[in-house]
């Protein structure tokens, strides 16, 4: 790699030797376009002859479609066609990571859950399409369904191990637990949760000169194009997918149902078709975080040193795709213990397929592990910050691999100092303000870091500008801006001379905006392209009219990386107030200290971390998909019913970071998208315990739960 690679400063701030752009706070390059409305999202881009598709969703939880009265709908004003399992193009197995049953839309008459697309009505206007969809009568042969999740469900089966992380089985968990003086053995539950990003999913597809063009709202256009090509049996060369601006994703914007159906309709009707989802359809068709039930057994000696961690988790999946919610990841990496065992069960039910939702695995998993750690601290009689410090591992607790970098202890210490933790009376129920009991809590979190193979190109122009082309996605994170800063420093030029082209499958292979690995992956490719470009520029006298292009491809470099434990870490502190008359819980302040590698743009990184913490607050206190057992349907699929934190719920949240130097990736970036939600819910639930003396092991910590369990510790 080149000498322009930035190096973290020792004071925790980060600057690069060259331009010094990295580490300085910059507003988003497209910020002005967004706030003035000039930025166009997928549903905003006009096309000649555009038709509009409207989804028809199943209303039964299990069964078969016996008839569909398309004739009546085809006669309605403006209706151009109805796509259904009788006429839809046949699809090939495909998916982002292996064949995905969710994408096999309209292929047969089976109904696997409520809210599965069963038809698409296409018309000249969205209103006509909507009217047609509302009028389409679908009859079903209903079958008995089962949508009620529990860990002991007879359909449960062991999940296949994650490729990179088999179930842990270190030491003899049972023997350690039997011999340990202190044991915590508890169950924790989390409910079905929904992403529902601000911009509802939308896609436009059209055929032009034998090529398929897609304008989409997704988290990775290259990978989406590849899946589409496989799904429809096309050469990837002829498929172009773009997603210039995306209003949030949280993991839900892979290959959406609206995209597959738009391509089907465009293919059948030979005209451009756009399908935009309503908020309700977003809730029904774009994935969710499955409900989980976790059992945590922690055993320690009398000083709190861990002897065993036994973490068993179960989550539901659908009957058409096996999604595994990997809640036990944290138990593999957080704390040293003599014995560590993890087990994961999936329970297929007649429910929509879950998917990655911000901090998949970690958000719910850390709630269980970090709540249990707080219970252990109480049982041992040691401060919860100190308990964690005592169990700090020097290498991967299960893998034995070295950490690429790990600065959790610094997060805990610095966080405790800033939060004023030292003044805390450890006894619950001791602080009161009128009706309110006050309490504070702490919890930690981690999220996998690292880079995945990507490509990038940078073209130097005679006018002194540089155009960076990388198949990145900016789903509101500020990735576009961060990459411009990385490129500027790697080229040794001011950021103003860098132009960004992203979110286009034509720009070459690139990883997804997912797994908190987007910016790390793309940055590496960009620095590689910059190095290549600098070499090329060194051999020309002046830049020719069509420019000079350098290219980067990180596949080999990443393949050659040694095995390490790579994670971002965080420690979160929360203070809550609990109304003793009503059970209402309000968060008063939160502080998150993170060790997340090199921070490229403090402004947008902070916004990611605060956003993750806010989502964690929402998870702790509000979010819960309410499903009717008899109907199998979600009955709160809008924002009036599905509560996410409102402004008034979100206190002044402080997020900051400690120095964290990770040399394994030349960009030094670890990712900040998901670590912010890891641990938040536990910090809040632990604070509720401190306020009331009651452990809340079921999320969300609803006021009825608080009220019914009382305030035994209140003095």
């Amino acid at each position: 790699m080149t000498d322009t690679t930035a190096r973290p400063r020792t004071d925790g701030g980060v600057v690069a030797p060259a331009g010094g752009a990295v580490g300085t706070a910059r507003t988003r390059l497209e910020g002005r376009d967004k706030v003035t409305g000039a930025a166009r999202y997928a549903a905003d881009v006009p096309f000649d002859g555009l038709a509009h598709g409207w989804l028809v969703l199943s209303t039964v939880a299990r069964g078969r479609i016996t008839s569909m009265d398309t004739a009546a709908v085809l006669g309605m004003p403006g209706v151009l066609g109805v796509v259904h399992h009788g006429n839809a193009p046949r699809l090939h197995p495909a998916g982002l990571f292996g064949p995905d049953g969710q994408l096999q839309l309209l292929q047969d008459d089976r109904v696997p859950h409520v809210g599965r697309p069963v038809a698409l009505v296409v018309a000249r206007t969205p209103q006509q399409a909507r009217a047609g969809a509302a009028a389409l009568t679908v009859t079903y042969a209903q079958e008995p369904h089962d949508t009620v999740f529990r860990a002991g469900h007879p359909a449960g089966r062991p999940a296949p191990a994650a490729p990179a992380r088999p179930d842990a089985d270190l030491g003899d968990v049972e023997a350690e637990i039997a011999a340990a003086p202190v044991v915590v053995d508890q169950r924790y539950t989390t409910p079905e949760e929904h992403h529902s990003a601000m911009e509802p999913h939308a896609s436009m597809a059209r055929w032009e000169d034998g090529r398929l063009e897609v304008v989409d709202s997704n988290q990775g256009s290259f990978m989406v194009a590849r899946v589409l090509a496989t799904l429809f049996g096309l050469d990837q060369e002829i498929v172009r997918v773009r997603a210039e601006h995306v209003g949030g994703g949280f993991g839900s914007k892979g290959v959406g149902p609206q995209l597959v159906l738009a391509v089907m309709a465009a293919t059948l009707l030979r005209r451009p078709v756009r399908v935009a989802l309503t908020r309700r359809q977003v809730f029904s068709t774009t994935g969710l975080r499955p409900a989980t039930e976790q059992r945590l057994r922690l055993a320690s000696d009398s000083t709190g040193r861990l002897r065993a961690i036994d973490h068993a988790t179960a989550a539901f999946t659908s009957t058409i795709q096996e999604y595994v919610e990997r809640n036990t990841e944290a138990s593999n990496v957080m704390y040293a213990a003599d014995a560590i065992r993890t087990r994961t069960t999936v329970v297929p039910l007649d429910l929509p397929t879950p998917g990655w939702m911000r901090g998949p695995g970690a958000a719910a998993g850390s709630f269980a592990l970090e709540s249990a750690m707080d219970e252990l601290a109480q049982a041992v009689g040691v401060d919860p910050v100190e308990l964690r410090l005592r169990n700090e591992p020097s290498a991967g607790p299960v893998s034995g691999l070295p950490f690429s970098s790990r600065n959790l202890a610094a997060c805990l210490r610095e966080g405790a100092r800033r939060f004023g933790w030292a003044d805390r009376d450890p006894r619950p129920g001791t602080r009161r303000e009128g009706r309110w009991l006050l309490g504070t809590g702490v919890a930690c979190g981690s999220y996998g870091a690292g880079a995945l193979p990507s490509t990038a190109a940078i073209t130097a122009r005679a006018d002194g500008s540089y155009t960076v082309s990388v198949g990145a996605a900016d789903i509101g994170t500020g990735a576009r801006t961060a990459l411009a800063l990385v490129a500027a420093d790697a080229l040794g030029v001011p950021p103003e001379s860098v132009r960004m082209r992203i979110a286009d499958s034509r720009l070459g292979a690139a990883w997804f905006a997912g797994g908190s690995k987007g910016t790390a992956s793309w940055s590496w490719a960009v620095t590689a392209a910059a190095a290549d470009l600098r070499e090329r520029l060194a051999s020309v006298d002046r830049v020719p009219p069509d420019g000079v292009t350098g290219r980067g491809d990180t596949t080999d470099a990443i393949g050659a990386l040694g095995k390490q434990e790579r994670q971002s870490y965080g420690a979160q502190f929360a203070e809550v107030a609990v109304d003793t008359g009503t059970g209402e819980v309000r968060v008063r302040r939160m502080l998150g200290m993170f060790a997340a590698g090199r921070i490229v743009n403090p402004l947008t990184a902070r916004s990611q971390l605060v956003g993750g913490m806010t989502m964690g607050l929402s998870m702790a206190l509000h979010e819960e998909g309410a499903r009717d057992e008899a109907l199998g349907a979600l009955v709160n699929s809008d924002f009036a019913g599905y509560h996410i934190s409102a402004h008034a719920d979100v206190p002044d949240i402080e997020a900051d970071w400690v120095e964290d130097v990770d040399d394994s990736n030349p960009s030094g970036i670890k990712g900040v998208g998901e670590v912010g939600i890891a641990g938040t819910a536990a910090a809040i639930a632990n604070a509720v315990w401190h306020a009331t003396g009651v452990r809340h092991r079921a999320l969300p910590v609803r006021l009825d739960r608080v009220l019914e369990s009382g305030f035994p510790a209140a003095r």
């Binding site: 008359g581 009503t582 059970g583 309410a626 109907l631 509560h643 409102a646 006021l703």
Partner: protein, 330 residues
């Protein structure tokens, strides 16, 4: 959303006549509830008659201490009105506890009273619901009813009335004035929503086509010492889990006058007459407040998943009355 006609009415008579001439019409206030329901297909009126230009947008103070509130006064204007804040503080607090600033700027008093229930089955047209489709069943009774009624429900519908404003109006004996083709009429607010019985789809006792023109509040000195408190899962922008509007006048440690109404517990804002009776003449103590709450809640019939509302209401009522009594003693 299907196509509809839109017209602006110029005066009350014109609005009523336009409604009579167009079966399937709806009056349009701020549209913050009606338009949402049109988008989701719950409502599909053929014609909207916009009533915001009828000159019904004033709050008038009676010399004797009462108030007359025009039907199209916005929620924001109502809450900001000095006469409202002075004479009926709980009313202003109730309005401010509802929705959000933007919504309150648009929402009208008439629309607030006739806003429809927030039951998740009601708002999703793919699900059964007696209130929306008579006879289709009430899945909430055995299903999701975490925030449904504990008082005055029937097995045909267990939804609660969502209005915050209405709870204060119930406490202060409001009277609704309306206009029909046959002339003007009046109805006690307490009688605006008929009992659910087996006709949950009959949501008001107003004659067909009635346009609400005003809501009047009789003079009530006790109301000057009143308070509204709303319990909700999140700190704003959420409907109540339970709420209490209370007014209290204490003389020599004894309750001289008291008004109490509960929100989010029944198909209508619930005037707590039994509690008021129990308290009048009783000592203004937490113990007496608790006994009065018990008297009211003896009639409560919680559903399997909303039993928490009973102790919640009790605590809430005791807490609010205790605050009022303490303030009176100062």
């Amino acid at each position: 959303m299907r196509e509809f006609a839109y017209q602006r009415a110029g005066d009350v008579a014109g609005a009523v006549a336009a409604f009579a001439a167009a079966p399937g019409a709806r009056y349009l206030g701020g549209g913050t509830n009606l338009v949402d329901l049109m988008k989701s297909g719950v409502e599909s009126p053929e014609r909207l008659i916009d009533v915001r230009g009828l000159g019904l947008d004033a709050v008038e103070e009676d010399a004797d201490g009462g108030l007359r509130i025009g039907a199209t006064v916005t929620n924001s204007d109502l809450a900001a009105h000095p006469g409202v804040r002075r004479r009926y503080p709980a009313l202003a607090q109730a309005v401010l506890a509802g929705a959000s600033g933007q919504l309150r700027n648009a929402a009208t008093v008439g629309g607030n009273l006739l806003q429809r229930v927030r039951c998740g089955y009601f708002t999703d047209v793919t699900l059964p619901c007696n209130r929306r489709v008579p006879g289709s069943g009430c899945p909430a009774v055995d299903g999701e009813h975490h925030n449904h009624a504990v008082l005055g429900w029937s097995e045909h519908c267990v939804a609660v009335h969502p209005s915050d404003l209405g709870v204060a109006l119930a406490a202060f004996d409001a009277v609704v004035s309306y206009e029909t083709g046959a002339g003007p009429g009046e109805l006690a607010y307490a009688a605006l929503y008929p009992p659910v019985g087996d006709t949950p789809h009959r949501e008001t006792s107003l004659p067909p086509g009635a346009l609400i023109t005003a809501v009047s509040l009789p003079a009530a000195p006790v109301a000057a010492r009143s308070r509204y408190r709303k319990v909700r899962e999140r700190a704003s922008y959420a409907f109540a889990t339970a709420s209490v509007a209370a007014a209290l006048e204490v003389r020599d440690g004894v309750v001289h006058d008291v008004r109490l109404a509960f929100g989010a517990v029944a198909s209508r804002p619930w005037r707590a007459h039994a509690a008021e009776r129990a308290l009048t003449g009783a000592p203004a103590t937490a113990r007496a407040f608790g006994a009065a709450a018990d008297a009211e809640l003896a009639a409560a019939r919680p559903l399997p998943h909303n039993g928490y509302k009973v102790p919640l209401l009790r605590n809430l009522m005791v807490s609010v009355l205790t605050e009022l009594a303490e303030e009176a003693a100062r």
